[in-house]
């Protein structure tokens, strides 16, 4: 992690991960998981929110680790 925090792409990567956690916490606090909306007729909001969270981490990881990670 020292190598990641040591350059700008790494700091942006860490910021994206942190922001995704903060955004998810804010959405949870606002009660998005309490709504009875079902995506595609069966996907509950805690599932949808979590999948969105994982996708953000996946994309950030792919960009950073395959293009900028110093040990790649």
């Amino acid at each position: 992690m020292r190598e990641i925090a040591g350059h700008w792409p790494g700091r942006i990567f860490l910021l994206v991960l942190l922001l995704s956690v903060v955004v998810m916490a804010v959405l949870v606090a606002q009660g998005i998981t309490e709504t009875d909306v079902l995506l595609f007729g069966w996907m509950t909001m805690p599932l949808v929110l979590g999948i969105g969270f994982i996708l953000v981490w996946l994309v950030a990881y792919l960009i950073y680790f395959f293009h900028f990670w110093p040990y790649r």
Partner: protein
């Protein structure tokens, strides 16, 4: 009769794989404990995913979802992020350090980093205290499966699992434990996914999962949202559950896996598998089982123990018996794959850290390997004691809660020393000892001293991780800053050399 033949053959395959592993092993401590540091990315994926996907994913996890609605899934989102963090942020350093210095356990790494034998004892005892009872949960899970399917007493399934475990770990060592997890993981995924598809097509033939969701809306629509029908999963608890999941990066049996990697490229590719196959595929299966299929197919269960085995009950009710036996095999696979890695980790800590590191420093390579093998049997006996304890009805508690309420907070107590030791040059021996010691004592006091109504008032009735970990981390940082910084020699070994090595081509070979 079919049940016994199938389960017998299944056990035989595991024993044969273990025997093969013993035959091809190099008979050195590094080979037995670290798989000769030869684990590649695919084997590592199965190794780690099924080290953490225990019978809990079949019983405990769907059971809580069934009772409380989908909120508990935030533990999974946190765990996926936690495992990814381990391999993205800590793994490369831990691996390089242990490879360069021939370390055989993560506790050894930290004791050398902080130059402290006392810390080695403290961490070893703490990790063993929280991991050994969790090993016992696995035979218990299988025992429940046996009981539900065949009507045999719980101890039969527990004993069957324990015998397989002992043989697998004693003979096979870390390499075969990792390789067997491919076989066990394949059986488990096939059973879990196959049973889901089959059950959905049989129970909800018109519109599948959409039909299941519609039926739950009619029965109890709160089962599809938070805070759930019992009002448990409030926003605060959801965020807390996520944070508890994040602590997965400190599970010792997962941390040790990073030390067995073949080269640094593993750490580049591994998170991809964790995100895609772990977060977006594997854990969704028990989630659908527990939050949609089971509540729609078998509504009305309120007892936690019955909820724990609701998936198996649905399978037995709606699918042929031979398939239920296959699913039980999958559960045994999940239990054995997790418990085997936990047993390996425990035996390494006993042999390398407690025996060779403290009691008998002159012990040879061969001696500590033998001790590690013998200790496996002892650990299993203790873990079976836990199983019998539960069988007698003392301290019985839903499986999911044992993992998240007891084991995870215990594992979390070495996290500040681990993260600080690998990433923070200023972290000191005194800081690590004070932080870990106070964190563990606070946790034990908080869990054991309760009010007359059962409230954990020392923990402010919060999840045990929430108050104990910040206290631990704060003490670690403050005491470290108030005490002399580590020597340049330590800085060279744990930071300069490691960073140079990871930047060089040598670490990719």
């Amino acid at each position: 009769m079919f049940d016994y033949i199938a389960l017998g053959l299944f056990g035989l395959v595991i024993i044969m794989l273990a025997a093969y592993g013993y035959r091809i092993s190099a008979k050195t401590a590094e080979d037995y404990m670290m798989a000769g540091r030869t684990i590649g990315v695919v084997v590592m994926f199965f190794f780690v995913l099924f080290a953490i996907s225990s019978s809990w994913t079949f019983y405990g996890f769907p059971g809580v979802l069934y009772l409380h609605g989908p909120g508990y899934v935030f533990f999974i989102w946190g765990s996926v992020a936690g495992f990814a963090c381990l391999y993205m942020f800590l793994g490369p350093r831990l691996w390089a350090l242990s490879k360069l210095n021939r370390y055989l356990s993560p506790v050894e790494v930290l004791s050398e980093r902080y130059e402290s034998r006392a810390l080695r004892i403290m961490l070893s005892v703490t990790i063993l205290a929280f991991i050994v009872p969790y090993v016992g949960i696995q035979p218990l899970g299988v025992g429940r499966g046996f009981e539900a399917l065949t009507g045999m007493p719980l101890w039969v399934g527990a004993a069957y699992t324990s015998v397989l475990l002992v043989i697998l770990v004693i003979l096979g060592g870390m390499r075969i434990v990792a390789w067997v997890n491919i076989f066990l993981g394949t059986v488990y995924i096939t059973a879990l996914l196959g049973s889901l598809f089959w059950a959905v097509s049989v129970i909800f033939p018109e519109a599948g999962l959409v039909q299941a969701a519609q039926e739950i809306v009619v029965i109890d629509s709160q089962k599809l949202t938070t805070p759930g029908p019992l009002g448990e999963y409030t926003p605060v608890l959801l965020i807390g559950t996520f944070v508890v999941g994040l602590m997965a990066f400190s599970w010792p049996h997962v941390v040790i896996g990073a030390m067995t990697a073949r080269d640094k490229t593993l750490f580049k590719w591994f998170p991809l598998l964790i995100f895609i196959f772990g977060g977006l595929f594997f854990y969704i299966i028990p989630f659908i089982w527990g939050s949609l299929v089971a509540p729609a197919a078998l509504p009305g269960i309120t007892d936690p123990a019955e909820a724990d085995r609701v998936v198996q009950t649905v399978i037995q009710l709606y699918l042929p018996r031979w398939f239920a036996v296959f699913v039980l095999m999958g559960v045994i696979a999940a239990a054995v794959s997790t418990a085997a890695v936990q047993l390996m980790t425990s035996s390494i800590i006993v042999a390398r850290d407690l025996i060779q590191g403290v009691l008998k420093p002159e012990a040879s390579d061969r001696e500590i390997t033998t001790i590690a093998r013998y200790s496996v049997a002892g650990i299993v006996v203790i873990s079976l004691g836990v199983t019998i304890f539960v069988q007698l009805g003392i301290g019985e508690e839903a499986m999911a809660m044992y993992l998240t309420d007891v084991s995870v907070p215990g594992f979390a107590q070495w996290a500040p020393a681990l993260v600080g030791g690998l990433l923070w040059k200023r972290g000191t021996r005194q800081g690590a000892l004070a932080g870990t010691g106070i964190g563990v004592l606070y946790l034990l006091a908080g869990l054991l001293i309760t009010g007359s109504d059962g409230t954990r008032f020392l923990l402010f009735d919060l999840h045990p991780v929430v108050p104990t970990l910040p206290v631990n981390a704060l003490v670690y940082v403050v005491v470290s800053l108030l005490t002399p910084k580590p020597s340049e020699h330590i800085e060279d070994i744990f930071f300069t050399e490691v960073e140079d090595y990871l930047l060089s081509d040598r670490s990719a070979q």
